[in-house]
Symmetry: C2
Subunit: 217 residues, 2 copies
DNA sequence: ATATTTTTTTAGATTTGTCTAAAAAAATAT
DNA sequence: ATATTTTTTTAGACAAATCTAAAAAAATAT
């Protein structure tokens, strides 16, 4: 019963591991899950007993192969549902995350197969995040933050690394949406903001925004 | 947390009330939910405290207006998801119930609105069960069991009152699917089985089957 | 009217996931 | 090297949903 609590822990540990490649600390999980460190310790012990994480007291956790596989599968489901919500039900990209957080826990492999087929085997979700295949494999791509471009380099927006609704809405206002072509002009010394050309206009965006936009050249 | 336990109780009480129009007994719920009578008594008290059921000890329960509304909303969601699974993802009608039992608990009114629109405002689910509208109102229809037809009456299959996979699969084998036109021939005295004409063939079906097929004239 | 059977409720436990407060360990600063 | 701060764990409790066994009430049979 209630197996989606475990699923949410695995997902959180997975994402925290991606960011920094070392054992995830109890407090980091607690923060990310809006719960207490004590609760996390309790849960870690359960996950460890189920062989879903490697755990030694005071040393943080890493996912076992089994735990990793489970986490990736949930992420796969989450992202496919997001594609469904945007492509089939016409939600906007800033409206789908919370609903997908519920849908990702529905258990039925054949459902996900059919959904994937219906969506025509998408490679990325509405935010440009890669959708792992049935075996948990991610396609190899070359996405990097917009702020790492050089003068006069052209690039195409392919994703975002921040998913808050306010950020996504702001991007839409600026036409900084997936598929959009942009040209890097220069960095403004004073505040590190960035000038870019988009749809024949030159605009200025903060470094904060720039580094959360992923592009490919 | 875990509000779908409550939702499942409400749904079960709703369905049991439909069958016999009187307070639902503890044991009936326990049977239907595969749980113990003691657990049901516990839960009934909680539902009663939340004013979702009317309860007096030893007298069974009925849904309050609030409880009824909630139950109907879950049924609405269940049936819309079943339509989605059959129409959009091409599942067969005997494959969708268990998945819909999970999907029905996803919380998002706008999701259901969009789903309903995507499905083109269906009136019935894949089993011919009516889909209540947003206000919980059911369309008024005139469905009755096939076994109540008279000699030579023509009718169209519009639903089923039994949802087991084995029953649905059997119906499909016999071409007894929704939309199919049939003609009632006669009842066989010996075993109360029924002769019908379907697609220019005459076939015999048991009374058990006949009474679980809903038709309209 | 009494006895028997069936149904329902209570009593007391258990499991899951959570909490706060206190103790222990590890990391950091002086 | 010691003291201070931060992080993590333990101890003990709680709410939700479940269980079994026993008691109580209601229904049924004689
Ligand atoms: Mn998301
Ligand atoms: Mn996403
Ligand atoms: Mn169903
Ligand atoms: Mn149905």
């Amino acid at each position: 019963m209630q197996s989606f609590t475990i699923e949410n822990y695995l997902k959180k540990i997975y994402h925290l591991t991606q960011r920094e490649n070392k054992p995830v600390q109890t407090n980091a999980i607690a923060d990310g899950m809006n719960t207490s460190a004590a609760s996390v310790t309790d849960m870690i012990k359960k996950l460890s007993a189920k062989k879903l994480v490697n755990y030694t007291k005071y040393q943080g956790v890493t996912l076992t192969e089994e735990g990793n596989k489970k986490a990736i599968n949930i992420i796969r489901k989450h992202r496919l549902w997001e594609v469904f919500l945007v492509n089939t039900l016409h939600f906007k990209w800033d409206e789908v995350h919370e609903i997908a957080d519920q849908l990702e826990h529905v258990k039925s492999d054949v459902l996900i197969d059919r959904l994937e087929k219906h969506l025509n085997y998408p490679i990325t979700d509405p935010h440009g995040d890669l959708i792992p295949d049935k075996n948990g494999l991610f396609k190899d791509v070359n996405f990097k933050p917009l702020n790492l471009l050089h003068q006069n380099q052209e690039a195409t927006i392919v994703g975002v690394s921040e998913h808050s609704s306010s950020f996504l809405k702001r991007l839409e206002e600026l036409n900084l949406i997936i598929g959009q072509k942009i040209t890097f002009i220069n960095v403004v010394d004073f505040d590190n903001s960035i000038e870019i050309k988009i749809l024949d206009n030159q605009i200025n965006i903060s470094k904060e925004i720039a580094k959360n936009i992923l592009i490919t050249i």
